[in-house]
C-alpha cells in the first residue's frame, strides 16, 4: 500500500469530503483556512434569522442552507433540527453526499505546532480516518500507525490490523472547551499544551465529544451524528455534540468501529460568555448524572446490524428510561426517530453505504 505520507491526502479525498460549518454571523475565518480548505466543497448551515445574508469569501465552492431551506427540504420533519443553536449543523451531514465530513466552528483558526508550522487540521483528520483504530487493547505508545511508532511488546498480533475508524476527534489550543462552572472559576486558563498524540478511545469507554473540530466517516456512522434538540424553545443547550458523541460511541462499540482523539489541534479564539453558557447548560449538568449511567449500560441486541437500527433502538431506550427524568427526553427520543426517517429519505440505501453490515438483512 502506498505510504500516505507520499500522496497528499488532500488530493486523495478532495471529492469525498464535505466541510460542514454552522454560522450565524460571517465566515471571515475561512480566509485563514483557505490554503487547506479551498479544494473542498463546503456545506454552510445558517442558523438564526434566515433573512440575513451570510457572506462567503470568494473562491470557495459551497452550498448554503438557512432555516427556510431546512423547512422546505424536510417539511414536518424539520422539527428535529435545532433552531438558534449550532446543533443545526447536523442538517449538513444529512444533505451531504460525500463519504467523509469535517465540521468546524467559525471561531476556530489555524493553530501552530511546537515548531511554529501551521497545522493542516484537515490533513491530520484524514490521516486519522484512513488508518485503523485499536479499541480492544490500549497501545501505550498511542497510535501505532503513525510514523515513528508501533505496537508495544505484549500487544497481540491478532489485534494489530485494527478496525475501521469512524470518528476523528480533534482538540483545541487557547480557549479550552470547558463547561460554564469551570469557565467561571478559571476565566484566564488557556490550553497551551500541545500533546503530540492520536489515540483510540477504548471500547466500552465514553467521552465528551466536542463538535468544534470533528471529522467522521459519514457512510459508516453518519446517522448517529444527530445533534439533538437544542436552542430556541428547548430547555438545554451546549449538549448537542455530547449527545451525538455518546450515541456514536455506543454504536461504534457495538458495530466494532473506532473513535480516535487527539491531534489535530485548532486555535479556538472566542471564549463564549460563561453566564450565558451556564443558563444553557445548567439542566445538562445535573441531567448528565443520569445520562452517563444510561449510556454506560445501554446494550444493543445482536440484530441491530445497521447504524439506523442501533440508533432507533437507543431512541426507544431513551424514551423508556430517560422519559421519567424529564419530558424533554420523550421529545428528544421522538426527534431521534424523526431524524432517522429524514436521513433515510434523503439518503435512500443503495445511494449511501450506511446500510447493514454483511450477514444482516438488507432494507
Amino acid at each position: 500500500m502506498a505510504d500516505p505520507a507520499t500522496i497528499s491526502p488532500a488530493t486523495l479525498l478532495k471529492d469525498e469530503l464535505d466541510i460542514v460549518i454552522p454560522t450565524i454571523r460571517n465566515l471571515d475565518f475561512l480566509e485563514m483556512w483557505r490554503p487547506f480548505f479551498q479544494p473542498y466543497h463546503l456545506i454552510i448551515v445558517q442558523d438564526g434569522d434566515p433573512s440575513k445574508a451570510i457572506k462567503v469569501p470568494e473562491g470557495f465552492d459551497y452550498e448554503l442552507y438557512n432555516r427556510n431551506d431546512i423547512n422546505r427540504i424536510l417539511g414536518p420533519k424539520a422539527s428535529c433540527i435545532s433552531f438558534k443553536d449550532s446543533a443545526c449543523r447536523c442538517f449538513g451531514y444529512m444533505v451531504s453526499k460525500k463519504k467523509y465530513i469535517y465540521t468546524i466552528d467559525d471561531d476556530c483558526f489555524v493553530a501552530k505546532d511546537p515548531s511554529g508550522k501551521d497545522i493542516n487540521a484537515l490533513e491530520q483528520h484524514i490521516k486519522n480516518l484512513l488508518s485503523p483504530s485499536t479499541p480492544f487493547f490500549f497501545n501505550t505508545l498511542y497510535d501505532p500507525y503513525r510514523a515513528g511508532a508501533d505496537f508495544v511488546r505484549g500487544y497481540p498480533f491478532s489485534l494489530r490490523e485494527g478496525v475501521p475508524t469512524a470518528v476523528s476527534h480533534g482538540l483545541w489550543l487557547n480557549i479550552p472547551d470547558y463547561d460554564a462552572p469551570t469557565q467561571l472559576v478559571k476565566p484566564l486558563e488557556r490550553n497551551t499544551r500541545y500533546v503530540d498524540a492520536v489515540m483510540t478511545i477504548p471500547k466500552g469507554t465514553l467521552f465528551p465529544m466536542c463538535g468544534m473540530n470533528l471529522a467522521f466517516d459519514r457512510e459508516l456512522i453518519g446517522p448517529a451524528m444527530y445533534f439533538g434538540l437544542m436552542g430556541d424553545g428547548q430547555p438545554i443547550g451546549r449538549y448537542d455534540d455530547m449527545w451525538a458523541g455518546w450515541c456514536t460511541k455506543v454504536i461504534c462499540d457495538h458495530l466494532g468501529w473506532g473513535v480516535k482523539t487527539g491531534l489535530p489541534y485548532i486555535w479556538h479564539s472566542k471564549a463564549s460568555n460563561p453566564f450565558v453558557n451556564l443558563r444553557k447548560e445548567y439542566k445538562g449538568i445535573y441531567w448528565q448524572e443520569e445520562l452517563i449511567p444510561f449510556f454506560q449500560s445501554v446494550t444493543l441486541p445482536k440484530d441491530c446490524t445497521s447504524v439506523q437500527k442501533c440508533y432507533t433502538e437507543i431512541a426507544k431506550q431513551v424514551k423508556a428510561k430517560l422519559g421519567k427524568v424529564d419530558d424533554y427526553f420523550n421529545k428528544l427520543a421522538d426527534a431521534m426517530v424523526t431524524w432517522i426517517e429524514a436521513w433515510d429519505e434523503l439518503n435512500p440505501s443503495g445511494a449511501s453505504k450506511s446500510s447493514d453490515l454483511p450477514n444482516g438483512a438488507s432494507k
Binding site: F138, N139, L141, Y155
Partner: protein, 347 residues
C-alpha cells in the same frame, strides 16, 4: 514533588541484571540520591556488583534472598524478576522501579525529566477511569475536566499504578524491532492519562511506580517463559503481572495511569537474536489477552491478596490445562500471596 510526600515514604527498587551500575547510578544521582534505594542483584549474575558511593541503599544478593525466602523459593527471583524481591522486603508506601539500562530523559524543552517526581505526582493525584477526559490529566497545571464530564466523577479514585514510557529504544517486541532495526522513539508526548476501567494494556516493567500499601501483592513474579532471558525481548513476566494488576485495580476501583515520565532507554541487545531464541512470548499473548478480558472477580474479593488468589485460581482452571507454563504461573501466584503475607506485610 508534592510537598506532602516525604522522601522517606519512597523506595527506589533496581533489579541489577548487569554488574557495573556505575554509569547508571551516576546518571540518576541528582534524582535518586535523596531517596533510599533497594538494589537486588539477579541471583544468576556471577560477577560482583560495582556501585558508586554516595547513595543510601541496601543491596540484596543471592545469599540474602536465600536467607529470607529459602533456597527453593529464591529461583522465582531470577532475571528481571529479581526486582520483586525488592518489592517484597520494602516497607515504604511508594515504589519506583526502572530497568538498569535506562537513564534520565530530557523533555521537549531539553530539561532533564525527574521521573521520580512525575511518578509520585501521578500516584498522589486522582485517576479518572470511568470517563475519558479529552484533555488527558485534568489535575495537571493548565488543564481541567472538559465540558460534558460528569461532575460526580470529578473527584476520581486513588491511583495505584503509574506506567512510564521510554525514549530511544521503545519497548517493542523482538519481531517489531527486528523489522525496524533503526526505529527509535523520539516522540515526547506531554501527557499523563488514566487507563479506562476494564481497558487492558501491556504494562511494561521498564519504568513503573506503584502504591505498595494498596497494590503491592499484585505485582508479582509468576509467568516465566521457557526461554526467558536477560533482555526484555525475551520476557513476558511484566506484561503478565501488569494484566493481573489492571484486573485487580479495576475490581477494587483503583486507577492506573500511563504516559509521562519518560526515561531514556539505552540500546542494548539484538532483536533478531532474541527473536530466534524466544518467540513463544509473542504467541502467548493471543491466549493471555482474551483470558484477562474475561476475568471477573467475586464480590467477596475485597483485598488485593484475595483478588490475586482468585485470579490465580481462574488461571489454573482456564489456562492451566492449555499449557503447563500457565499452571506453573498460577501456582507461583498463590505461593506469592503466601510469601507476601509472611514476608511482605508490615508488622
Amino acid at each position: 514533588m508534592s510537598l506532602s510526600i516525604k522522601d522517606d515514604e519512597i523506595d527506589i527498587v533496581i533489579g541489577a541484571l548487569r554488574p557495573d551500575l556505575t554509569s547508571f547510578m551516576n546518571e540518576w544521582r541528582t534524582i535518586f540520591s535523596r531517596f533510599h534505594l533497594i538494589i537486588v542483584k539477579d541471583p544468576d549474575l556471577k560477577e560482583e556488583l560495582k556501585i558508586p558511593e554516595g547513595f543510601n541503599l541496601d543491596v540484596y544478593k543471592k545469599p540474602d534472598i536465600d536467607r529470607v525466602v529459602g533456597t527453593s523459593t529464591s529461583t522465582i527471583f531470577s532475571g528481571y524478576s529479581c526486582r520483586y524481591f525488592g518489592y517484597l522486603v520494602s516497607r515504604k508506601k511508594y515504589i519506583i522501579s526502572v530497568d538498569d539500562d535506562c537513564y534520565p530523559a530530557k523533555d521537549n524543552k531539553g530539561i532533564l525529566v525527574d521521573a521520580v517526581a512525575q511518578h509520585i505526582t501521578n500516584l498522589t493525584t486522582p485517576a479518572t477511569p470511568f470517563f475519558f477526559n479529552t484533555l488527558y490529566d485534568p489535575f495537571t497545571e493548565g488543564a481541567d475536566f472538559v465540558r460534558g464530564y460528569p461532575f460526580s466523577l470529578r473527584s476520581g479514585v486513588q491511583c495505584a499504578l503509574s506506567c512510564g514510557l521510554w525514549l530511544n529504544l521503545a519497548d517493542y517486541d523482538a519481531p517489531t524491532q527486528a523489522l525496524k532495526p533503526e526505529e527509535r522513539n523520539s516522540r515526547y508526548v506531554d501527557a499523563v492519562l488514566t487507563v479506562p476501567a476494564r481497558t487492558l494494556m501491556p504494562i511494561s516493567g521498564i519504568n513503573i511506580a506503584f502504591n505498595r500499601e494498596v497494590i503491592g501483592p499484585a505485582l508479582l513474579p509468576s509467568l516465566r517463559l521457557g526461554g526467558e532471558g536477560k533482555f526484555r525481548w525475551e520476557t513476558m513476566e511484566d506484561i503478565w503481572s501488569g494484566m493481573c494488576v489492571k484486573v485487580v485495580c479495576d475490581h477494587l476501583g483503583l486507577g492506573v495511569k500511563t504516559g509521562m515520565p519518560y526515561v531514556w532507554r539505552n540500546d542494548r541487545g539484538d532483536a533478531i537474536a532474541s527473536l530466534r531464541k524466544e518467540w513463544e512470548g509473542v504467541k502467548l499473548m493471543e491466549e493471555v489477552v482474551p483470558f484477562f478480558q474475561s476475568v471477573r472477580l467475586s464480590r467477596e474479593a475485597t483485598t488485593t491478596e484475595d483478588c490475586v488468589a482468585e485470579v490465580a485460581n481462574v488461571v489454573k482452571e482456564q489456562l492451566g490445562t492449555k499449557d503447563p507454563m500457565f499452571a506453573r504461573a498460577a501456582k507461583a501466584m498463590l505461593d506469592w500471596v503466601k510469601l507476601w503475607k509472611s514476608v511482605g506485610s508490615s508488622t
